[in-house]
Amino acid sequence: MSPRLMTTSSRMNPAMRIRILAALLLLAAAACSNPLDVQPTTSIPDATAISDGPSAQAALIGAYNGLQSLSLYGEELVELGDLSADNAENSGTYTSYAEVDGNQLHANNSAVADIWLASYDDINRANEIITRVPTITTIDPDQATEILGEAYFLRALNYSNLVKLYGGVPIVTQPATNLADASAVTRASVSDVYGQILKDLDSAAAGISNTDETTQATVGAVAALRARVLLYTGDWAGAEAAAAEVESMGYDLAPRYQDLYSASGNATSEDIFRIIQTEIQESFLSYDYFTRGLGGVYELRPTKDLMHAYDPSFDPDGDISSYNPTDLRGQWNISISGSRVYGSKYRSIVGTEYFPVLRFAEVILTRAEALARLGQLSDAVDEYNRVRERAGLPDDVLGVTVIGPGATVLSTQDQVIARILNERRLELAFEGDRWPDLVRTGLATTVMGISAQATLYPIPQREVDVAPGVTQNPGY
């Protein structure tokens, strides 16, 4: 220590004191500004998120991303469609799934809430695009038209899923600007929802020109969804026309059923619209269906009733090892591991199968059913025989006894329709279609032995709590 320091006056040098105080004040004054102006590094402000062509395109991609959700095509939307019905049963530990399986849903069922929330999340992604893209001045008009068309398609798809499960739901076509208004929503009627869907499909058809994608909306996807929606509304002629339009576009059944579910996501001639799933954005379908011995959780499994549907000689009360279907779909979709039967439609345990939202076989079955309901039974049988042939099964012939559950001579309209619904069950098993099919045809009450009220899912309790204008479905 220097001698100077040892001899300084005890009264601090005034200049020194000022220096110290100045430093303190500097600290305090500087504190007023900068440190509190922190910007996020992993997100962007919503006001500027969609502002030009590339960002509009990115937002559209984000809307497809919403469909990958485990609440939608990644897991729950797909699985509940079979679990509520007679195709699958709960074999795991999720209480939410046990309720679905038993058709004894509680309004707070988490899976039922998940589907609702994820569907509206994706609707909002579409709404953001539909509202903002028209205001962008710098975007190429053709690109804007295509983006808007696809956004309308995605909105229609989500509403079509909601209306099938919950009945009439609130129609929201604008992003929420304030919460008070957003909380005042009420449910629309089923026919109004379908009206909105068809309107959106018109807008989609007007916007989309893309014809050769399978993982994004195309002209074919719009028509195929229209066929499905019209079938659900009972517009047989419309459904037939839309399906026929798809048939004119050059789609064809994949040579082998299992090609649709390849772990590498290869496209087939049958694919109309699929959801990409990758190791990073994986689906849980195989994980939930596989046994624990195969690395899954075995949360749900095929019912013996479905096994019997694939293999009429299989005794539902007998040993599962006697299951030996000639139906190639039954061979692919259901397997035995040790003492356990499990769903084997999706076989990559890491969940990389693309999910077929719309595929040509469904369009064929839609057209067949529409024809049958219009009374054109012979055309109907010819139509759906294409699907049977691919499954390695003999053609059905009017007036001839058919093999299968309730084997009978195929002659009346009702018999043909029943036959088509059975074909839909076998073809589309584990793709989430069985429950909506049972509900729309009014068969759910008899097949499942449940009340008519139980054919609609409850509106999630959390939604009723925060938006009191949204009324609960009866019975919940």
Binding site: L5, M12, I20, L27, A49, G62, N65, H106, E279, G295
Partner: protein, 1012 residues
């Protein structure tokens, strides 16, 4: 004025350098010096570490190990010198110092039975306990060291009234929940603020790979051995000086510092053995088979377990539990010259878990140096590093964990079949827990630095300036390995799963404040503090997950064939700018007044609501010192009445909740964006207004100390991530809604029942504390209830109930005719649905506390700690599988043996039902149990080695001891431990749920400590 981050460091450095360069000081002609020696009046030995101060000024010193002290630079004249040391009565005397002279003031301190520290930390300063006007609890070092727990928070359990510590789970190194005077917040944090030597430290859960319920909080990195004292600022008036983060209380931790004198070594080491404190009563193979078959018969099903078959009879709990060692070694050295004092220590704590595969180890080092650079300038540094290794067991508290599966698997399966582990292909419904313990790993390494440099400069004998730079840097690395050798797991199918995560938390603090101590004498004294503080936080984390490994030996992420997911959050900053001031005034030493104000600006709020203001006011009256009380004082002792009011805040919410933002939303290999937050630009501070009325009473010459408080705190503008209509596309958003009220009574007693005149005499001391808290939600958004995040949705926040009230069906018993469970049909619609759920109790105790007795005689001492909690309800969620009537294949609790079996049976256990038709699977209050307990937390017997044995090696104060921890827990709860919370330390609503929580250990340890 705008400054970049680097300018900030420059400013701070400039400040310190100014102080250093400005060292103008040293002895002056106009000033004098006071020196002296401090001894124990009974033992006639020097007293080290006593605080000596000039009353009414900032000058002071600590006595050295030889009892001497020197205070330079005092103003000439008549000075009041005050000496304080824990365990001794305060002493004061007046000396007269002439300019340039040295006055001598020696003190002989009288030992007193009371153990309350005479000086307590209050945040930006200290205060004599007699002058405290808020609600403040102190815990001394001796109360918290040598416990076989990793963290300070765990060691605080049962030690301070109104400080509720919940262990959550028994995993070594597990994150713990602490609530000071009840939970105030629904969605923001309810954990207190921890301040170590003036630096608010990071305490949140940093782990990304959390087997649910097993967080890793920042508190475990602090070494309890380093601690000199802990002060808990409980009421708003005392905590408000920490403003925005104080509404959950503030825990001020002061670490040990050096005392001048020759180097003095201290050693403390123990070694112990841990076992499970209890095991669950589960069915054996024969009971299980009979039960399950009975369920099948009841439902007309085929027998699932043929009776002519041989079954194993495995006790799975025995298979996963083990006797596990725990040990601690701590060595410190302290000493110094009269201008330089140092304290250095190092310690190692190691613990195996009682469950296979779990482990915790920590190494700590600390260097605390005090340097009197001049008579005016003191520099202090406190640096601590910690290295932690935590091995958590995979999936504890999940559906596929070691503890879970050991409880879930029935006894009928063997652990091994030949030389391999049994697995689901052998019929097991869950994977083999022993195989998980053997093959899976989840090692986590944490490196932590906490440190600060303080410069105290005495501008005059009344005014000092303190500058402080502090840092808290935490790096955590987690590596999980799920082995393909565990048959029946996802990893088995995927060829092994490895995850690797890096978590990084940084906090830097710069602050400076002026302290004025004034007043001519004890008649009127001022203590004023004012300053500013800036705190920078930067957090970053990322993780990567890979699958497909060629061999179980090559299991780091770089050996994976597929990287299947990745994530994390990029560097995110959140900063805090604060101004604070406090004035304490005492008049005639008996009228006390304190007022403080803090303004906090936080980057977590939108530009319009950044600043929050947190005032406080408190007053105290030493009524026993009034002349009209003089007739009573001899009997009544000292009595102080206190009252306070203050406002504190809470800002523990996500960083950009106020802003609507888009995040990424990729689709395949195409990058996309998607809306992620519905912003709320009006978001503002959650604030707590608290009243407190209390008394400090010390009758019988200080042999009994009573501290009692009543408080009422109302938290409003709650930060709630509240559900919003899903039709907006969002599920929830952050909003200021609703109020929560906490009110309660706290009582702390410290009593020396028997005191001794000689060091070898018999003494008996009792410490007791108890706290009653009533927690109630008084307002919510449109008074709509909020459900907890638990996927079984059993917890709820609703007006008129405490936070986290259970909301489930009400079980009415078992129908004696059918054996089916009956539930209350609340809405009377003839069906039991979710609409029939009702409020069914809550996990908040009615009262809790601790009770400690210490007896000593001739160097032998026995201490016993009891800790209790009464009235909390626990949801034993294990019972949805283990008491479900037989719908699941899980093993069952033995109390299911008392099930209904034939018409007329009166029981609370529904009939066995293989198809789940008995109603026994419904989630109801049938599974809610009384979580009251009385725990024998610690019993320690120690023996002070006689001096004759210590002549070699200059040993002093040496003790041998044997301790038992968690020896027994008196409780009716049927799980392992009712002090449980499977949703982890960050849970606010979902408390009191036991979902296969890791059990607590019972520990027996032997140890030695001594000085040389």
């Amino acid at each position: 004025m705008r400054l970049s981050g680097t300018s900030w460091v420059t400013v701070g450095a400039t400040l310190l350098l100014s102080l250093l360069a400005g060292v103008p000081s040293a002895v002056a002609q106009q000033t004098g010096t006071v020196r002296g020696t401090i001894t124990d009046s009974t033992l006639h030995e020097p007293v080290a570490g006593a605080q000596v101060r000039v009353v009414g000024g900032t000058m002071g010193a600590l006595s050295t190990s030889t009892g001497t002290y020197v205070i330079h630079n005092v103003s000439p004249g008549s000075l009041q010198i005050r000496v304080q040391r824990v365990g001794y009565a305060m002493a004061e005397r007046t000396v007269t110092v002439a300019a340039g002279d040295t006055a001598v003031a020696d003190f002989a301190l009288k030992q007193v039975a009371t153990v309350l520290a005479p000086v307590v930390a209050i945040g930006y300063g200290t205060e004599n306990r007699t002058n405290i006007t808020g609600a403040v609890s102190s815990v001394s070092a001796s109360d918290i060291t040598n416990q076989p727990v990793a963290g300070i928070d765990a060691a605080l359990q049962g030690k301070a009234p109104g400080v509720q510590v919940m262990q959550n789970s028994g995993d070594p190194g597990n994150g713990i929940s602490v609530r000071v005077r009840g939970a105030a917040s629904i969605s923001a944090s309810n954990q207190p603020l921890y301040v170590v030597d003036g630096v608010p430290v990071q305490t949140s859960d940093f782990a990304q790979l959390s087997p649910s319920g097993q967080g890793l909080t920042g508190v475990t990195g602090l070494d309890p051995n380093d601690i000199e004292s802990i002060t808990v600022l409980k009421d708003a008036s005392s905590a408000a000086i920490y403003g925005s983060r104080a509404s959950n209380g503030v825990v001020l931790i002061t670490t040990k510092r050096g005392v001048s004198g020759p180097a003095r070594f201290s050693i403390d080491a123990y070694l112990g053995w841990q076992n499970a404190e209890r095991k669950l009563d589960l069915m054996n193979a024969q009971q299980y088979v009979q039960y399950m078959n009975e369920g099948a018969v009841n439902d007309g099903e085929d027998l699932p377990f043929p009776t002519d078959q041989q079954y194993a009879n495995t006790n799975w709990q025995d298979a996963i539990f083990r006797t596990a060692p725990v040990g601690n070694a701590h060595l410190s050295v302290s000493g110094g010259s009269d201008r330089l004092r140092y304290y250095l220590d190092g310690s190692y704590y190691g613990q195996q878990g009682i469950v296979l595969g779990s482990k915790y180890a920590r190494a700590n080092g600390r260097v605390n140096v005090d340097y009197d650079a001049s008579a005016r300038l003191t520099l202090k540094s406190s640096f601590a590093i910690a290295h932690e290794n935590t091995d958590r067991v995979e999936g504890d508290n999940s559906d596929n964990g070691i503890v879970t599966n050991a409880i879930g698997l029935p006894a009928i399966y063997p652990v091994m079949i030949g030389s391999r582990f049994s697995n689901p292909d052998d019929g097991l419904d869950y994977t083999n827990p022993v195989a998980i313990g053997q093959y899976d790993e989840l090692p986590t390494t944490t490196d932590r630095f906490i440190g600060n440099i303080d410069a105290d400069y005495n501008l005059s004998s009344h005014l000092s300036l303190t500058g402080r730079l502090g840092a808290d840097v935490l790096h955590m690395r987690e590596d999980q390995w799920q082995s393909p050798l565990v048959v029946g797991t996802y990893a088995f199918g995927a060829g092994g799963v490895a995850k690797s995560a890096a978590d990084n938390g940084n906090r830097y603090l710069m602050e400076s404040f002026l302290t004025y101590q004034g007043g001519s004498d004890t008649a009127s004294a001022w203590n004023i503090v004012g300053g500013a503080s800036v705190e920078y936080n930067k957090d970053e984390s990322n993780f990567i997950r890979g699958e497909g490994f060629s061999s179980a030996d090559l299991h780091y992420i770089d050996n994976a064939t597929n990287i299947v997911s990745y994530g994390g959050t990029g560097p995110v900053q959140h900063n805090l700018v604060s101004y604070f001031a406090r004035a304490n005034y005492s008049w005639k030493d008996r009228y006390l007044l304190s007022a403080s104000m803090r303004a906090d600006g936080s980057s977590r709020f939108g530009p319009d609501n950044r600043y929050g203001y947190f005032p406080a006011l408190s007053a105290g009256w030493l009524i026993s010192d009034e002349s009209f009380m003089s007739g009573f004082k001899q009997h009544l002792g000292s009595l102080k009445l206190r009252g306070s009011f203050g406002v504190t805040g809470n800002q523990e919410l996500p960083n950009f909740a106020y802003a609507g933002v888009y995040g990424s939303g990729n689709y395949g290999s195409t990058p996309g964006i998607a809306p992620s937050t519905f912003g709320n630009p009006d978001l503002k501070w959650e604030s707590t207004k608290e009243w407190d009325a209390g008394l400090d009473w010390s009758p019988f010459g200080g042999r009994l100390t009573v501290i009692a408080d009543y408080y009422h705190k109302l938290t409003s503008d709650l930060l709630v991530n509240r559900p919003i209509p899903g039709t907006t596309g969002y599920q929830s958003y952050w909003d200021n809604i609703g109020n929560v009220m906490n009110r309660g009574v706290e009582l702390g007693l410290q009593s020396v029942n028997v005191s001794a005149d000689s060091p070898n005499g018999f003494t008996w001391r009792t410490d007791f504390n108890i706290a009653f808290n009533h927690n109630e939600v008084t307002e919510l958004y449109k008074n709509q209830p909020i459900d907890g995040n638990n996927f079984r949705a059993i917890d709820r926040v609703a007006v008129g109930y405490p936070i986290g009230e259970f909301y489930v069906l009400h079980f009415l018993g078992v129908n004696p005719q059918t054996g089916d469970a009956m539930y209350q049909d609340v809405d009377g619609d003839g069906e039991i649905t979710s609409a029939d759920r009702t409020y069914a109790g809550n996990p908040q105790p009615k009262f809790y506390g601790g009770f400690r007795n210490t007896w000593s005689w001739h160097g032998v001492s026995l201490a016993a700690n009891l800790q209790f909690s009464q009235g909390a309800k626990i949801f034993n969620l294990m019972r949805i599988f283990a008491d479900d009537g037989g719908y699941h294949y899980d093993n069952k609790f033995t109390y299911a043996l008392s099930r209904w079996q034939k018409p007329g049976d009166i029981t609370d256990e529904p009939r066995a039902s293989f198809d789940g038709n008995s109603g026994g699977t419904e989630i109801s209050d049938h599974f809610i149990e009384d979580g009251s307990y009385l725990r024998v937390q610690e019993v320690t017997l120690s023996w002070r080695l006689p001096k004759s044995l210590l002549s070699f090696g200059n040993l002093q104060n040496s003790q041998l001891y044997v301790s038992g921890f968690n020896l027994h827990n008196f409780t009716k709860y049927t799980g392992y431990d009712p002090d449980v919370n499977s949703n982890g330390s960050s849970a606010n609503i979902e408390l009191g749920t036991d979902y296969y929580a890791y059990p607590r250990a019972r520990t027996i340890a032997i140890g030695i400590r001594g000085d040389f």
